[in-house]
Amino acid sequence: MLNISVQGRDARAVAEDVGGIEEVASVVLLLGTPQISAMIHARDRTHLHELISGPISVVAGIAKIEADVMLNIWKYRSDLARFDL
């Protein structure tokens, strides 16, 4: 999960750009800093690094990225979604 801090651009526009990347499974807006949280599905650490240093890093307005790397997923409820997105 990437915690993205935004500077100099509307956080919603940054969220849209980050969401345009295929490996990004979800993007949500937060109140405060960081303004965006994005869930990434990477194959491995190399792939994660490629995504962060590649397509994500070039999105305008990103001031800082912090990553929570998930070691073990205990619960992933997949029957809930929003169809209006």
Binding site: A25, S26, L30, H41, I73, W74, Y76, S78, R82
Partner: protein, 152 residues
């Protein structure tokens, strides 16, 4: 899930991703293979947890409209217990162990902000081993890929 998927596997998933009720016969016809091939592959894909046919419901229909990330710093000896306990709650839709300042991360998906408050203020405070908790309330959802998940 470990085995690599070939082109036919990917096409089957693509077709069922667009319409989960497509018949094996229609898939076979679209891919130019016999129906038994589709049936066997579907069974294998489900057995190896590469895919699953499931119902996805719009959260708003269930009046689930308040979301927040919970990040907790938990004593290492209690991590497993806390993660399992969080997983058992109806209020969580995602729970994981993580590396970093916070070693347990969960997504709370509930009906309202007051339910969010109840969960955080009543239920979490009774747990042993939690040093600190950070709540990040979600103000809006930009993207949610429900075709790509972790199958436990």
């Amino acid at each position: 899930m470990s085995d690599e998927l070939d082109e036919i596997d990917r096409r089957i998933i693509e077709i069922l991703g667009a319409d989960g009720r497509t018949s094996n016969r229609s898939i076979a016809r679209a891919l130019g293979v016999v129906e038994s091939t589709v049936r066997k592959r579907l069974k294998r894909l489900e057995n190896q947890k590469a895919m699953r046919l499931a119902v996805v419901c719009d959260a708003r229909v269930l009046q689930i409209e308040a979301f927040a990330f919970l990040r907790a710093s938990v004593a290492p000896s209690h991590t497993r217990h806390v993660a399992q306990w969080l997983s058992s709650l109806d209020e969580t839709s995602f729970v994981a162990d993580a590396i970093g300042q916070y070693n347990v991360v969960a997504l709370l998906s509930v009906h309202s902000r007051s339910e969010l408050a109840d969960t955080i203020l009543e239920k979490l405070t009774v747990l042993d081993g939690i040093n600190s908790v950070e709540i990040r309330e979600i103000a809006g959802i930009t993207k949610h890929r429900w075709d790509l998940v972790r199958i436990p």
